[in-house]
Symmetry: C2
Subunit: 177 residues, 2 copies
């Protein structure tokens, strides 16, 4: 599809061969699952849909989602795994065993050099309520809603230092040109 009067470099009509393709998840490596899962569940409201342990290779994967009332998440583990990989908005956290015991170990956030990945973004119903909620949980702010050039946008950090943008959808309509 395209929108009236808009064009973009390189863009092509949607090929029929890509029907049913979905952006399922984003994977971030985490140092300490106890800290990361506490943050993503307590502060951001996500839940673990599926945990996969790979003993032979010494790592675990945690697939997280915001579970909404309309979601009929299967209890059966095989059905739930298939469900998880058919959704959008899944966050995969990869824990290589033992990193949590190394005081000097840290992952790269992608915003310091060398740059690449920038952030993930959570959309919330009320930006001020979310900001107060993050304050109540001593979240680390990069910027608050009233700071910087981009008003109405919050940036916080997760326990590994990854940037998390927080927006309220109906206040983004006037951004940019």
């Amino acid at each position: 599809m395209s929108f009236h009067g808009e064009s973009h470099p390189g863009i092509a009509p949607t090929p029929v061969e890509t029907q049913g393709f979905r952006f399922n998840h984003t994977m971030l490596r985490i140092k300490d699952p106890a800290r990361a899962l506490a943050f993503y569940s307590r502060v951001l409201g996500m839940q673990v849909m599926r945990r996969l342990d790979f003993d032979e290779m010494s790592f675990s994967l945690y697939f997280l989602a915001h579970v909404e009332e309309s979601h009929a998440v299967p209890e059966d583990v095989a059905a739930r795994t298939a469900w998880t990989f058919s959704q959008t908005g899944i966050l995969e956290l990869t824990h290589n065993w033992g990193t949590e015991d190394d005081a000097d170990f840290a992952y790269h956030d992608g915003n310091a050099e060398p740059q690449g990945f920038g952030h993930i973004c959570i959309s919330v119903p009320n930006l001020e309520a979310a900001q107060a909620w993050f304050d109540a949980h001593d979240a680390t702010f990069i910027k608050r809603a009233d700071q910087g050039k981009m008003k109405d946008v919050i940036f916080i950090k997760d326990p590994d230092g990854y940037w998390i943008e927080v927006v309220q959808a109906d206040r983004m309509a006037g951004k940019g040109d």
Copy 2:
């Protein structure tokens, strides 16, 4: 929520204050929008929902999604922007103007050192059909479905070298322990 017999380090019940939180998007920096948008539209079937240009700071943002038939995407630009920021499964590509003209410029994929971000993942209806489709577009494979320890999982690279996992949901049910 939690599932019968499962527990995870650090996890907490979903706080009521996080109701309506959604994992909206993931942001990756791209060197050349013409190359990146050609790949994400032609090969992966995504479309630009909203482009935001920031002349003063010399960058553009492209918000991409897989548009499904059930999606009623507003034509009106303000309504469409609000719609975009209320979805899950959005990919934001950031273009800092001019990088496409610098032959030596490249972004960091997060898998080479220093590690952090790992990949994004696309779920597809048929893994073999998707692999043939990627072959037909000369996509760069990291691994095919029948290679490596993790069968039934494809990894390709986007034009900036970011890793893209490709899975078929109902073939993931037996993975891990």
